[in-house]
Amino acid sequence: MTTATEERTNALEERAKEARRLVVDMAASERGCHLGGSLSAMDLLIAALDGTRDEESKVVLSKGHAAAGLYAALHAMGILEEDPAPRYGLLGHPYTGHPGPKVPGVSFPTGSLGHGLPYAAGWALAQRLKGTGGRAVAIVGDGELQEGLIWETVQVAAARALGNLVILVDRNGGQNDGLVGDISPLPHLAERFAAFGCDTAEVDGHDLAALTRTLAAHDSPRPLAVVANTVKGKGVRAVEGKAASHYVVIDKARAEKWKKGIR
Protein backbone atom coordinates (compact mmCIF):
# COMPACT_ATOMS: atom_id res chain seq x y z
CA MET A 1 0.00 0.00 0.00
CA THR A 2 1.33 3.42 -0.95
CA THR A 3 1.47 6.02 1.81
CA ALA A 4 0.56 9.68 1.29
CA THR A 5 4.24 10.59 1.58
CA GLU A 6 5.19 8.10 -1.10
CA GLU A 7 2.44 9.41 -3.33
CA ARG A 8 3.68 12.94 -2.82
CA THR A 9 7.23 11.88 -3.63
CA ASN A 10 6.07 10.06 -6.75
CA ALA A 11 4.20 13.17 -7.89
CA LEU A 12 7.28 15.33 -7.34
CA GLU A 13 9.40 12.84 -9.28
CA GLU A 14 7.02 13.13 -12.21
CA ARG A 15 7.29 16.91 -12.08
CA ALA A 16 11.07 16.68 -12.02
CA LYS A 17 10.98 14.50 -15.13
CA GLU A 18 8.64 16.94 -16.87
CA ALA A 19 10.96 19.82 -15.96
CA ARG A 20 14.04 17.94 -17.18
CA ARG A 21 12.35 17.47 -20.55
CA LEU A 22 11.77 21.24 -20.71
CA VAL A 23 15.43 21.87 -19.93
CA VAL A 24 16.42 19.63 -22.83
CA ASP A 25 14.07 21.62 -25.05
CA MET A 26 15.88 24.79 -23.98
CA ALA A 27 19.23 23.17 -24.78
CA ALA A 28 17.79 22.60 -28.25
CA SER A 29 16.94 26.28 -28.65
CA GLU A 30 19.02 28.61 -30.77
CA ARG A 31 20.81 29.77 -27.62
CA GLY A 32 21.43 26.50 -25.83
CA CYS A 33 21.56 26.48 -22.03
CA HIS A 34 23.53 25.53 -18.95
CA LEU A 35 22.32 21.96 -19.20
CA GLY A 36 24.48 20.05 -16.73
CA GLY A 37 23.87 22.33 -13.76
CA SER A 38 20.19 22.75 -14.55
CA LEU A 39 19.70 18.99 -14.48
CA SER A 40 21.83 18.42 -11.39
CA ALA A 41 19.87 21.05 -9.47
CA MET A 42 16.43 19.94 -10.65
CA ASP A 43 15.47 17.74 -7.70
CA LEU A 44 16.72 20.43 -5.30
CA LEU A 45 14.56 23.01 -7.06
CA ILE A 46 11.48 20.79 -7.00
CA ALA A 47 11.91 19.89 -3.32
CA ALA A 48 12.62 23.50 -2.32
CA LEU A 49 9.68 24.94 -4.27
CA ASP A 50 7.40 22.27 -2.82
CA GLY A 51 8.54 23.08 0.70
CA THR A 52 8.11 26.84 0.46
CA ARG A 53 4.60 27.35 -0.82
CA ASP A 54 3.66 29.93 1.84
CA GLU A 55 3.92 33.60 0.85
CA GLU A 56 6.49 34.31 3.53
CA SER A 57 9.04 31.87 2.14
CA LYS A 58 11.29 32.09 -0.87
CA VAL A 59 13.57 29.95 -2.97
CA VAL A 60 16.56 31.79 -4.42
CA LEU A 61 18.57 30.11 -7.15
CA SER A 62 21.95 31.58 -6.30
CA LYS A 63 23.65 29.56 -9.05
CA GLY A 64 21.73 31.64 -11.56
CA HIS A 65 23.31 30.03 -14.61
CA ALA A 66 20.92 27.12 -13.99
CA ALA A 67 18.14 29.48 -15.13
CA ALA A 68 16.73 26.94 -17.57
CA GLY A 69 16.30 24.53 -14.68
CA LEU A 70 14.59 27.20 -12.59
CA TYR A 71 12.14 28.19 -15.34
CA ALA A 72 11.33 24.55 -16.01
CA ALA A 73 10.84 23.77 -12.32
CA LEU A 74 8.62 26.83 -11.80
CA HIS A 75 6.46 25.74 -14.72
CA ALA A 76 6.30 22.10 -13.67
CA MET A 77 5.29 23.17 -10.15
CA GLY A 78 2.51 25.41 -11.48
CA ILE A 79 4.09 28.66 -10.29
CA LEU A 80 4.96 29.87 -13.78
CA GLU A 81 1.94 29.51 -16.02
CA GLU A 82 3.40 29.74 -19.52
CA ASP A 83 5.80 27.21 -20.94
CA PRO A 84 9.22 28.91 -20.88
CA ALA A 85 10.90 26.50 -23.31
CA PRO A 86 9.67 27.94 -26.63
CA ARG A 87 10.31 31.46 -25.34
CA TYR A 88 13.74 30.89 -23.78
CA GLY A 89 16.36 33.47 -24.74
CA LEU A 90 14.08 35.29 -27.15
CA LEU A 91 13.30 38.98 -27.48
CA GLY A 92 9.94 39.84 -25.95
CA HIS A 93 10.22 37.27 -23.17
CA PRO A 94 11.91 37.47 -19.76
CA TYR A 95 13.65 34.08 -19.91
CA THR A 96 17.23 35.29 -20.07
CA GLY A 97 20.24 33.07 -19.60
CA HIS A 98 20.44 34.17 -15.97
CA PRO A 99 17.15 34.85 -14.19
CA GLY A 100 15.66 38.25 -13.42
CA PRO A 101 12.67 39.35 -11.37
CA LYS A 102 10.38 39.81 -14.37
CA VAL A 103 9.85 36.05 -14.35
CA PRO A 104 6.90 35.01 -12.14
CA GLY A 105 8.29 33.22 -9.11
CA VAL A 106 11.70 34.89 -9.33
CA SER A 107 12.33 37.60 -6.73
CA PHE A 108 15.98 38.45 -7.25
CA PRO A 109 18.33 38.58 -10.23
CA THR A 110 21.10 36.05 -9.91
CA GLY A 111 23.90 34.80 -12.10
CA SER A 112 26.78 36.79 -10.79
CA LEU A 113 27.72 34.12 -8.30
CA GLY A 114 27.54 34.66 -4.57
CA HIS A 115 24.69 37.19 -4.41
CA GLY A 116 21.69 34.87 -4.13
CA LEU A 117 22.68 33.57 -0.71
CA PRO A 118 22.84 37.01 0.94
CA TYR A 119 19.57 38.00 -0.74
CA ALA A 120 18.04 34.92 0.86
CA ALA A 121 19.68 35.71 4.19
CA GLY A 122 18.17 39.21 4.13
CA TRP A 123 14.76 37.73 3.42
CA ALA A 124 15.17 35.25 6.28
CA LEU A 125 16.18 38.05 8.64
CA ALA A 126 13.13 40.06 7.57
CA GLN A 127 10.79 37.15 8.27
CA ARG A 128 12.30 36.65 11.68
CA LEU A 129 11.81 40.34 12.46
CA LYS A 130 8.19 40.06 11.36
CA GLY A 131 7.68 36.82 13.23
CA THR A 132 6.02 35.16 10.25
CA GLY A 133 7.72 31.80 10.38
CA GLY A 134 8.75 32.24 6.75
CA ARG A 135 12.11 31.05 5.57
CA ALA A 136 14.48 31.22 2.64
CA VAL A 137 16.15 28.42 0.72
CA ALA A 138 19.21 29.38 -1.32
CA ILE A 139 20.42 26.88 -3.88
CA VAL A 140 24.13 27.36 -4.41
CA GLY A 141 26.58 25.51 -6.62
CA ASP A 142 29.69 23.88 -5.23
CA GLY A 143 31.84 25.89 -7.64
CA GLU A 144 30.02 28.98 -6.39
CA LEU A 145 31.38 28.27 -2.93
CA GLN A 146 34.72 29.58 -4.18
CA GLU A 147 33.21 33.09 -3.94
CA GLY A 148 34.15 35.09 -0.84
CA LEU A 149 30.69 36.63 -0.59
CA ILE A 150 29.28 33.17 0.23
CA TRP A 151 31.42 32.83 3.31
CA GLU A 152 30.85 36.43 4.37
CA THR A 153 27.17 35.61 4.39
CA VAL A 154 27.51 32.25 6.13
CA GLN A 155 29.48 34.08 8.83
CA VAL A 156 26.72 36.67 9.24
CA ALA A 157 23.89 34.11 9.07
CA ALA A 158 25.46 31.98 11.78
CA ALA A 159 26.27 35.00 13.93
CA ARG A 160 22.68 36.20 13.61
CA ALA A 161 21.30 32.72 14.26
CA LEU A 162 19.22 32.66 11.09
CA GLY A 163 17.63 29.30 11.71
CA ASN A 164 15.12 29.99 8.95
CA LEU A 165 17.83 30.03 6.27
CA VAL A 166 18.65 26.88 4.32
CA ILE A 167 21.75 26.68 2.14
CA LEU A 168 21.23 23.89 -0.34
CA VAL A 169 24.48 22.99 -2.06
CA ASP A 170 24.23 21.37 -5.48
CA ARG A 171 27.49 19.44 -5.27
CA ASN A 172 27.79 18.23 -8.84
CA GLY A 173 31.56 18.56 -8.87
CA GLY A 174 31.70 20.67 -12.00
CA GLN A 175 32.27 24.28 -12.89
CA ASN A 176 32.73 26.27 -16.08
CA ASP A 177 36.32 25.32 -16.83
CA GLY A 178 36.22 21.71 -15.63
CA LEU A 179 36.04 19.87 -12.35
CA VAL A 180 35.88 21.63 -9.00
CA GLY A 181 38.35 19.06 -7.72
CA ASP A 182 40.90 20.07 -10.34
CA ILE A 183 40.42 23.82 -10.19
CA SER A 184 39.94 24.65 -6.50
CA PRO A 185 38.73 21.69 -4.45
CA LEU A 186 36.33 22.02 -1.53
CA PRO A 187 37.14 19.15 0.81
CA HIS A 188 35.35 18.66 4.12
CA LEU A 189 32.46 20.76 2.90
CA ALA A 190 29.91 19.89 5.58
CA GLU A 191 32.58 20.39 8.22
CA ARG A 192 33.28 23.86 6.86
CA PHE A 193 29.67 24.90 7.30
CA ALA A 194 29.58 23.29 10.73
CA ALA A 195 32.69 25.21 11.73
CA PHE A 196 30.92 28.45 10.86
CA GLY A 197 28.03 27.49 13.13
CA CYS A 198 25.54 25.87 10.78
CA ASP A 199 23.60 22.68 11.24
CA THR A 200 24.54 20.35 8.42
CA ALA A 201 23.14 17.42 6.53
CA GLU A 202 24.43 15.42 3.62
CA VAL A 203 21.94 13.82 1.25
CA ASP A 204 21.59 12.23 -2.14
CA GLY A 205 20.54 15.25 -4.16
CA HIS A 206 18.38 13.13 -6.44
CA ASP A 207 16.42 11.47 -3.65
CA LEU A 208 13.32 13.62 -3.45
CA ALA A 209 12.04 11.82 -0.38
CA ALA A 210 15.29 12.50 1.47
CA LEU A 211 15.39 16.10 0.30
CA THR A 212 11.82 16.92 1.35
CA ARG A 213 12.36 15.17 4.66
CA THR A 214 15.57 17.08 5.34
CA LEU A 215 14.03 20.44 4.46
CA ALA A 216 10.93 19.79 6.56
CA ALA A 217 12.72 18.49 9.62
CA HIS A 218 14.91 21.48 10.41
CA ASP A 219 13.97 23.32 13.58
CA SER A 220 16.96 25.05 15.09
CA PRO A 221 18.35 28.55 15.67
CA ARG A 222 21.26 27.68 13.40
CA PRO A 223 21.18 27.99 9.61
CA LEU A 224 20.97 24.65 7.85
CA ALA A 225 23.53 23.75 5.20
CA VAL A 226 22.54 20.72 3.14
CA VAL A 227 25.28 19.23 1.03
CA ALA A 228 23.36 17.52 -1.73
CA ASN A 229 25.47 15.13 -3.76
CA THR A 230 24.32 15.38 -7.34
CA VAL A 231 25.31 14.31 -10.83
CA LYS A 232 25.93 16.91 -13.48
CA GLY A 233 23.50 16.32 -16.33
CA LYS A 234 21.36 13.99 -14.18
CA GLY A 235 18.57 12.33 -16.12
CA VAL A 236 20.16 12.45 -19.55
CA ARG A 237 22.33 9.38 -19.82
CA ALA A 238 24.46 10.82 -22.64
CA VAL A 239 25.77 13.67 -20.50
CA GLU A 240 25.52 12.41 -16.93
CA GLY A 241 28.67 13.13 -14.97
CA LYS A 242 30.36 14.91 -17.84
CA ALA A 243 31.92 18.30 -17.18
CA ALA A 244 31.35 19.18 -20.83
CA SER A 245 27.60 19.26 -20.16
CA HIS A 246 28.05 22.64 -18.45
CA TYR A 247 26.75 24.55 -21.48
CA VAL A 248 25.16 22.67 -24.34
CA VAL A 249 23.50 23.48 -27.65
CA ILE A 250 21.85 20.50 -29.37
CA ASP A 251 19.56 19.97 -32.33
CA LYS A 252 15.87 19.04 -32.11
CA ALA A 253 16.37 15.43 -33.13
CA ARG A 254 18.85 14.84 -30.35
CA ALA A 255 16.55 16.58 -27.90
CA GLU A 256 13.71 14.20 -28.74
CA LYS A 257 15.99 11.23 -28.24
CA TRP A 258 17.28 12.52 -24.92
CA LYS A 259 13.79 13.36 -23.65
CA LYS A 260 12.59 9.83 -24.31
CA GLY A 261 15.40 8.52 -22.16
CA ILE A 262 14.76 10.71 -19.14
CA ARG A 263 14.29 8.46 -16.14
Binding site: G100, P101, S107, F108, P109, S112, G114, H115, P118, Y119, A120, A121, G122, W123, A124, L125, A126, Q127, L129, K130, A136, G148, L149, E152, T153, Q155, V156, A159, R160
Partner: protein, 298 residues
Protein backbone atom coordinates in the same frame (compact mmCIF):
# COMPACT_ATOMS: atom_id res chain seq x y z
CA UNK B 1 26.45 73.41 17.46
CA UNK B 2 26.10 71.72 14.12
CA UNK B 3 26.70 67.99 13.71
CA UNK B 4 29.16 66.31 11.34
CA UNK B 5 27.48 64.58 8.40
CA UNK B 6 27.56 61.05 9.72
CA UNK B 7 26.31 62.08 13.15
CA UNK B 8 23.54 64.08 11.50
CA UNK B 9 22.57 60.97 9.51
CA UNK B 10 22.46 58.81 12.60
CA UNK B 11 20.46 61.37 14.58
CA UNK B 12 17.93 61.91 11.81
CA UNK B 13 17.47 58.22 11.10
CA UNK B 14 17.04 57.45 14.80
CA UNK B 15 14.34 60.11 15.03
CA UNK B 16 12.57 58.94 11.87
CA UNK B 17 12.52 55.36 13.13
CA UNK B 18 10.41 56.47 16.11
CA UNK B 19 7.40 56.58 13.83
CA UNK B 20 8.46 54.45 10.88
CA UNK B 21 8.70 50.79 11.72
CA UNK B 22 10.06 49.95 8.28
CA UNK B 23 13.46 51.49 8.97
CA UNK B 24 16.33 49.08 9.54
CA UNK B 25 19.85 50.31 10.28
CA UNK B 26 22.83 48.23 9.21
CA UNK B 27 26.49 48.88 9.90
CA UNK B 28 29.63 46.97 8.96
CA UNK B 29 31.73 47.40 12.10
CA UNK B 30 32.33 51.12 11.54
CA UNK B 31 29.31 52.52 13.34
CA UNK B 32 31.05 53.08 16.66
CA UNK B 33 30.28 51.66 20.06
CA UNK B 34 27.49 54.06 20.99
CA UNK B 35 25.38 54.28 17.87
CA UNK B 36 22.23 56.24 18.71
CA UNK B 37 20.06 54.02 16.53
CA UNK B 38 21.32 50.91 18.32
CA UNK B 39 20.51 52.47 21.67
CA UNK B 40 17.03 53.65 20.65
CA UNK B 41 15.96 50.75 18.43
CA UNK B 42 18.14 47.73 19.24
CA UNK B 43 15.73 45.32 17.57
CA UNK B 44 16.19 47.05 14.22
CA UNK B 45 19.93 47.66 14.36
CA UNK B 46 22.37 45.13 12.96
CA UNK B 47 26.12 45.37 13.05
CA UNK B 48 26.75 42.83 10.31
CA UNK B 49 30.49 42.80 10.91
CA UNK B 50 33.18 43.42 8.32
CA UNK B 51 31.12 42.15 5.41
CA UNK B 52 30.20 45.02 3.10
CA UNK B 53 29.01 42.96 0.15
CA UNK B 54 26.84 40.76 2.34
CA UNK B 55 25.43 43.87 4.02
CA UNK B 56 24.29 45.42 0.73
CA UNK B 57 22.86 42.14 -0.53
CA UNK B 58 21.07 41.34 2.72
CA UNK B 59 19.50 44.78 2.50
CA UNK B 60 17.96 43.62 -0.79
CA UNK B 61 16.27 40.73 0.98
CA UNK B 62 15.06 43.02 3.75
CA UNK B 63 13.72 45.54 1.24
CA UNK B 64 11.88 42.80 -0.65
CA UNK B 65 10.02 42.06 2.57
CA UNK B 66 8.92 45.69 2.92
CA UNK B 67 11.66 47.15 5.09
CA UNK B 68 13.63 50.33 4.36
CA UNK B 69 17.27 49.47 5.01
CA UNK B 70 19.77 52.26 5.66
CA UNK B 71 23.29 50.93 5.50
CA UNK B 72 26.53 52.66 6.25
CA UNK B 73 30.21 52.04 5.94
CA UNK B 74 33.17 54.11 4.77
CA UNK B 75 32.92 55.33 1.17
CA UNK B 76 35.90 53.35 -0.15
CA UNK B 77 34.35 50.11 1.09
CA UNK B 78 30.74 50.94 0.20
CA UNK B 79 31.28 52.27 -3.29
CA UNK B 80 34.33 50.33 -4.39
CA UNK B 81 34.52 47.02 -2.54
CA UNK B 82 30.78 46.47 -2.83
CA UNK B 83 30.39 48.03 -6.29
CA UNK B 84 28.79 45.03 -7.94
CA UNK B 85 26.36 44.61 -5.08
CA UNK B 86 25.45 48.31 -5.37
CA UNK B 87 24.95 48.01 -9.13
CA UNK B 88 22.52 45.13 -8.71
CA UNK B 89 20.79 46.27 -5.51
CA UNK B 90 20.38 50.00 -6.13
CA UNK B 91 20.45 49.98 -9.92
CA UNK B 92 19.02 46.86 -11.51
CA UNK B 93 16.73 45.83 -8.67
CA UNK B 94 16.06 49.45 -7.68
CA UNK B 95 15.54 48.43 -4.07
CA UNK B 96 14.66 51.23 -1.62
CA UNK B 97 18.05 51.08 0.04
CA UNK B 98 20.05 54.07 1.25
CA UNK B 99 23.82 53.80 1.47
CA UNK B 100 25.47 56.43 3.66
CA UNK B 101 29.19 56.68 3.04
CA UNK B 102 31.37 58.74 5.38
CA UNK B 103 35.12 59.13 4.82
CA UNK B 104 34.42 60.25 1.26
CA UNK B 105 37.13 62.09 -0.65
CA UNK B 106 40.28 62.35 1.43
CA UNK B 107 38.48 63.16 4.67
CA UNK B 108 40.21 60.09 6.11
CA UNK B 109 43.40 62.18 5.68
CA UNK B 110 46.32 60.60 7.61
CA UNK B 111 44.58 57.21 7.72
CA UNK B 112 46.01 56.81 4.25
CA UNK B 113 45.02 56.03 0.71
CA UNK B 114 43.12 52.82 1.52
CA UNK B 115 40.70 55.01 3.46
CA UNK B 116 40.26 57.64 0.74
CA UNK B 117 37.52 57.64 -1.86
CA UNK B 118 38.05 60.03 -4.75
CA UNK B 119 36.32 57.74 -7.25
CA UNK B 120 32.96 56.93 -5.64
CA UNK B 121 30.68 59.46 -7.35
CA UNK B 122 32.06 58.59 -10.76
CA UNK B 123 31.51 54.89 -10.15
CA UNK B 124 28.02 55.15 -8.71
CA UNK B 125 26.98 57.78 -11.29
CA UNK B 126 27.36 55.16 -14.02
CA UNK B 127 24.64 53.07 -12.38
CA UNK B 128 21.27 54.29 -13.67
CA UNK B 129 18.52 55.03 -11.17
CA UNK B 130 20.63 55.81 -8.12
CA UNK B 131 20.23 59.20 -6.47
CA UNK B 132 23.63 60.50 -5.42
CA UNK B 133 23.83 63.20 -2.78
CA UNK B 134 26.75 65.07 -1.25
CA UNK B 135 24.98 67.18 1.38
CA UNK B 136 26.71 70.16 2.94
CA UNK B 137 26.19 70.37 6.68
CA UNK B 138 23.78 68.98 9.22
CA UNK B 139 20.53 70.46 7.94
CA UNK B 140 21.16 69.34 4.38
CA UNK B 141 22.12 65.83 5.49
CA UNK B 142 18.95 65.55 7.53
CA UNK B 143 16.90 66.74 4.56
CA UNK B 144 18.52 64.22 2.23
CA UNK B 145 17.89 61.34 4.66
CA UNK B 146 14.23 62.35 4.92
CA UNK B 147 13.98 62.59 1.14
CA UNK B 148 15.47 59.12 0.72
CA UNK B 149 12.93 57.67 3.12
CA UNK B 150 9.96 59.56 1.68
CA UNK B 151 10.68 58.67 -1.94
CA UNK B 152 12.05 55.16 -1.48
CA UNK B 153 14.46 55.92 -4.29
CA UNK B 154 17.83 54.17 -3.95
CA UNK B 155 20.32 56.65 -2.53
CA UNK B 156 24.08 56.89 -2.24
CA UNK B 157 24.95 59.67 0.22
CA UNK B 158 28.55 60.69 0.68
CA UNK B 159 29.89 62.70 3.58
CA UNK B 160 33.14 63.35 5.39
CA UNK B 161 34.64 62.13 8.64
CA UNK B 162 34.23 64.20 11.80
CA UNK B 163 34.31 67.77 10.50
CA UNK B 164 31.13 69.78 11.03
CA UNK B 165 29.85 72.24 8.45
CA UNK B 166 27.07 74.76 8.78
CA UNK B 167 24.50 74.26 6.04
CA UNK B 168 23.72 77.38 4.08
CA UNK B 169 20.43 79.10 4.96
CA UNK B 170 17.36 77.85 3.19
CA UNK B 171 16.17 74.42 2.16
CA UNK B 172 18.63 71.84 0.91
CA UNK B 173 18.78 71.50 -2.84
CA UNK B 174 16.68 68.53 -3.87
CA UNK B 175 17.36 66.35 -6.91
CA UNK B 176 17.93 68.61 -9.91
CA UNK B 177 17.84 71.77 -7.83
CA UNK B 178 20.49 74.43 -7.37
CA UNK B 179 21.00 76.25 -4.08
CA UNK B 180 22.47 79.69 -4.64
CA UNK B 181 24.94 80.67 -1.94
CA UNK B 182 25.82 83.85 -3.83
CA UNK B 183 24.16 85.26 -6.89
CA UNK B 184 25.92 87.87 -9.01
CA UNK B 185 25.09 88.78 -12.57
CA UNK B 186 27.41 87.77 -15.36
CA UNK B 187 30.89 86.34 -15.04
CA UNK B 188 31.80 82.85 -14.08
CA UNK B 189 29.96 80.79 -11.47
CA UNK B 190 31.53 78.62 -8.82
CA UNK B 191 29.67 75.32 -8.54
CA UNK B 192 30.45 73.34 -5.41
CA UNK B 193 29.75 69.69 -4.71
CA UNK B 194 30.06 68.54 -1.10
CA UNK B 195 31.30 69.89 2.15
CA UNK B 196 34.91 70.88 1.53
CA UNK B 197 34.14 72.24 -1.92
CA UNK B 198 31.42 74.49 -0.51
CA UNK B 199 33.81 75.64 2.19
CA UNK B 200 36.54 76.42 -0.34
CA UNK B 201 34.13 78.36 -2.53
CA UNK B 202 32.62 80.19 0.42
CA UNK B 203 36.01 81.31 1.68
CA UNK B 204 37.41 82.19 -1.74
CA UNK B 205 36.13 85.81 -1.81
CA UNK B 206 36.05 85.48 -5.57
CA UNK B 207 33.21 87.91 -6.12
CA UNK B 208 31.54 85.26 -8.26
CA UNK B 209 28.23 83.52 -8.01
CA UNK B 210 28.31 80.33 -6.00
CA UNK B 211 25.87 77.52 -6.73
CA UNK B 212 25.68 74.52 -4.41
CA UNK B 213 24.64 71.16 -5.82
CA UNK B 214 23.51 68.52 -3.34
CA UNK B 215 22.45 65.86 -5.87
CA UNK B 216 24.96 64.91 -8.55
CA UNK B 217 23.48 61.83 -10.22
CA UNK B 218 23.05 62.14 -13.98
CA UNK B 219 19.34 62.84 -13.81
CA UNK B 220 19.84 65.66 -11.31
CA UNK B 221 22.74 67.14 -13.24
CA UNK B 222 20.66 67.25 -16.43
CA UNK B 223 18.09 69.46 -14.68
CA UNK B 224 20.58 71.52 -12.70
CA UNK B 225 22.62 72.19 -15.85
CA UNK B 226 19.66 74.01 -17.37
CA UNK B 227 19.33 76.28 -14.36
CA UNK B 228 23.06 76.98 -14.23
CA UNK B 229 23.28 77.75 -17.95
CA UNK B 230 20.37 80.18 -17.73
CA UNK B 231 22.51 82.44 -15.57
CA UNK B 232 26.11 81.67 -16.49
CA UNK B 233 28.08 80.52 -19.49
CA UNK B 234 31.26 79.80 -17.54
CA UNK B 235 31.27 77.31 -14.69
CA UNK B 236 34.09 76.45 -12.30
CA UNK B 237 33.10 73.17 -10.68
CA UNK B 238 34.80 72.42 -7.38
CA UNK B 239 34.61 68.92 -5.93
CA UNK B 240 36.53 66.54 -3.71
CA UNK B 241 36.72 63.86 -6.36
CA UNK B 242 38.99 62.92 -9.19
CA UNK B 243 38.39 64.79 -12.42
CA UNK B 244 37.49 61.50 -14.06
CA UNK B 245 33.88 60.80 -13.22
CA UNK B 246 33.41 64.28 -11.77
CA UNK B 247 30.31 66.45 -11.96
CA UNK B 248 32.40 68.84 -14.06
CA UNK B 249 32.90 66.13 -16.65
CA UNK B 250 29.16 65.48 -16.79
CA UNK B 251 28.27 69.18 -16.97
CA UNK B 252 30.75 69.71 -19.81
CA UNK B 253 28.93 67.06 -21.83
CA UNK B 254 25.53 68.44 -20.90
CA UNK B 255 26.47 72.03 -21.77
CA UNK B 256 28.55 71.97 -24.95
CA UNK B 257 28.07 75.71 -25.42
CA UNK B 258 29.33 76.54 -21.94
CA UNK B 259 32.87 76.82 -20.67
CA UNK B 260 33.21 74.26 -17.88
CA UNK B 261 36.33 74.15 -15.71
CA UNK B 262 37.21 71.67 -13.02
CA UNK B 263 38.94 72.25 -9.73
CA UNK B 264 39.19 68.74 -8.40
CA UNK B 265 41.61 66.08 -7.25
CA UNK B 266 44.27 65.01 -9.68
CA UNK B 267 45.67 61.56 -10.21
CA UNK B 268 47.91 61.56 -7.14
CA UNK B 269 47.92 58.89 -4.42
CA UNK B 270 48.63 60.77 -1.18
CA UNK B 271 51.43 59.02 0.68
CA UNK B 272 52.00 61.42 3.55
CA UNK B 273 50.20 62.22 6.75
CA UNK B 274 48.45 65.48 7.43
CA UNK B 275 45.01 66.75 8.27
CA UNK B 276 42.13 66.91 5.81
CA UNK B 277 43.13 70.23 4.28
CA UNK B 278 46.75 69.15 4.00
CA UNK B 279 45.73 65.92 2.30
CA UNK B 280 43.49 67.85 -0.07
CA UNK B 281 46.50 69.95 -0.96
CA UNK B 282 48.43 66.76 -1.76
CA UNK B 283 45.86 65.99 -4.44
CA UNK B 284 45.86 69.53 -5.77
CA UNK B 285 42.65 70.79 -4.22
CA UNK B 286 43.44 73.95 -2.25
CA UNK B 287 42.58 77.67 -2.17
CA UNK B 288 45.46 78.58 -4.50
CA UNK B 289 44.24 76.13 -7.15
CA UNK B 290 40.78 77.65 -7.00
CA UNK B 291 42.19 81.18 -7.10
CA UNK B 292 44.34 80.32 -10.12
CA UNK B 293 41.38 78.87 -11.99
CA UNK B 294 39.23 81.88 -11.11
CA UNK B 295 41.91 84.23 -12.39
CA UNK B 296 42.31 82.17 -15.56
CA UNK B 297 38.65 82.49 -16.41
CA UNK B 298 38.31 86.18 -15.57
Amino acid sequence: MTLPGRDAYRAELTALAETDERIICLEADLGGKKHPFAEAHPDRFFNIGIAEGAMVDMAVGLAAAGYRPFISTFAPFAALRATESLKLALGYIGAPITVVAPYAGVSGAWFGTTHHSLEDIGIVRTVPGVAIAAPHGEADMRAVVRHALETGRPHYIRTGRNAAYESLPGDAAGPGEVKWAARRPGGACLVSVGEEAARLCGEAESGLSHAVLTYVDNESLRTAAKELSRHHSTLIVVEEHRTAGSAAEALALLLPEAEVHSVSAGDQWPAQGGDHAETLAQVGLHPAALAAKTAETA
